[in-house]
């Protein structure tokens, strides 16, 4: 019998379940290694060399090098683990979360100050809220990047 996974139809959301965990094991364990200051220094000195010490896929390594967190999540990363890469680069959690929307830092911060993203249209895939696939990337930063 199929397992119950009702969370597959939420727009812009990847739930970290046992399948994702298995896929992202080495990627996430690499992130854990950045909890030690000396590892953060080694990583910053030569990111590629540090990543090559881990049995991660080339795609996973490239997502880390690009700081493409959406890609890293799709490849099994978990946001609490990935946050340690951002911390290593001196980025706040808000900067990291914002980067996944395609908005500029200012746009994302302004959205939060205005009360955050609305739930309307963002409950199920197929609605028309701003988190739906047909509205990505959001904001100026994303539009520039996609030109």
């Amino acid at each position: 019998m199929a397992l119950d996974k009702p969370y597959k139809d939420i727009p812009g959301t990847i739930i970290f379940d046992a399948d994702q965990s298995r896929k992202g094991y080495h990627l996430n364990q690499f992130c854990m290694s950045l909890m030690k200051a000396e590892n953060r220094e080694r990583f910053k000195r030569d990111q590629r060399a540090y990543l090559d010490e881990w049995p991660m896929s080339e795609e996973q390594k490239q997502a880390v090098l690009d700081m493409d967190l959406n890609r890293a999540m799709a490849l099994g990363g978990n946001i609490y683990f990935l946050a340690k890469i951002g911390a290593t680069h001196g980025k706040s959690f808000q900067q990291m979360a914002g980067s996944m929307t395609g908005m500029s830092e200012e746009e994302y911060r302004a959205m939060m100050l205005a009360g955050g993203r609305s739930i309307e249209g963002n409950r199920h895939l197929g609605e028309d809220g701003d988190a739906q696939p047909q509205h990505q990337p959001q904001g100026q930063a994303g539009r520039k990047a996609s030109v």
């Binding site: 959301t13 379940d17 094991y25 978990n78 946001i79 706040s92 939060m112 955050g116």
Partner: protein, 293 residues
Amino acid sequence: MAKITASVYTSHVPAIGAAIDLGKTQEPYWQPLFKGYEFSKQWMKDNKPDVIFLVYNDHATAFSLDMIPTFAIGTAAQFLPADEGFGPRPVPKVIGHPDLASHIAHSVIQQDFDLTIVNKMEVDHGLTVPLSLMCGQPDAWPCPVIPFAVNVVQYPVPSGQRCFNLGKAIRKAVESYDQDLKVQIWGTGGMSHQLQGPRAGLINKEFDNAFLDRLIADPQGQASVPHIDYVREAGSEGVELVMWLIARGAMDDVAGNAANSIATHAGSVRVRHRFYHVPASNTAVGHLILENI
């Protein structure tokens, strides 16, 4: 006999810890949030417990993907603040209560909840930010703290009903401890937040406030709400709210419903403080203090 005197509920955002540690609490962005905890800090001084039983979630700190316990109780004599990537927070180390923690572990496991016993771990912002919000910046925390970590990171995560029932089991465990101790139980984390993907930044004030209403007045009903509702309505990390049900399940007014137990007294609960604010970094912040009377 040890007794649960009150329960405290609060979100535990890392940026709040950073704001405290960097002296930014009076900045315009943060001032309204910290104002919501002024009552709470005074209340803590006036109602100092002997032990805090602190329910929180570890954020890929003590538990990597090597091992992820669903429920873990800290039985060590002390717990050091962890380096989450920015260096450890400059806060006091957490002094545990190994004897009471072991007693609770023993009792709760015998009530059919599988706890992982942890004799060595570091604690992250999930545990230290609530202490900072409630106690300020003292040289030492006001009393011993028993860390109780819940997995809300890797699915499946425990249901609201299981958390609520666990709270009842913790209550029974505390009440079977011989020493006279005043114990507070804290449920931390939660309120609308989504930290990932194109839906990042989701805030659902209606859902959050309805949760607070129901947590106070109808916790049994709230316990039956499935995960998917939290995730869909309050964001992928909004599911942390199930941890509040552990603290709520330990209060007097629901004791009569404890599985396999006979109610010895049916108490009632008083709301001492309620606060809600948007935003703190990516999240809404909710806070509640309930006392047994």
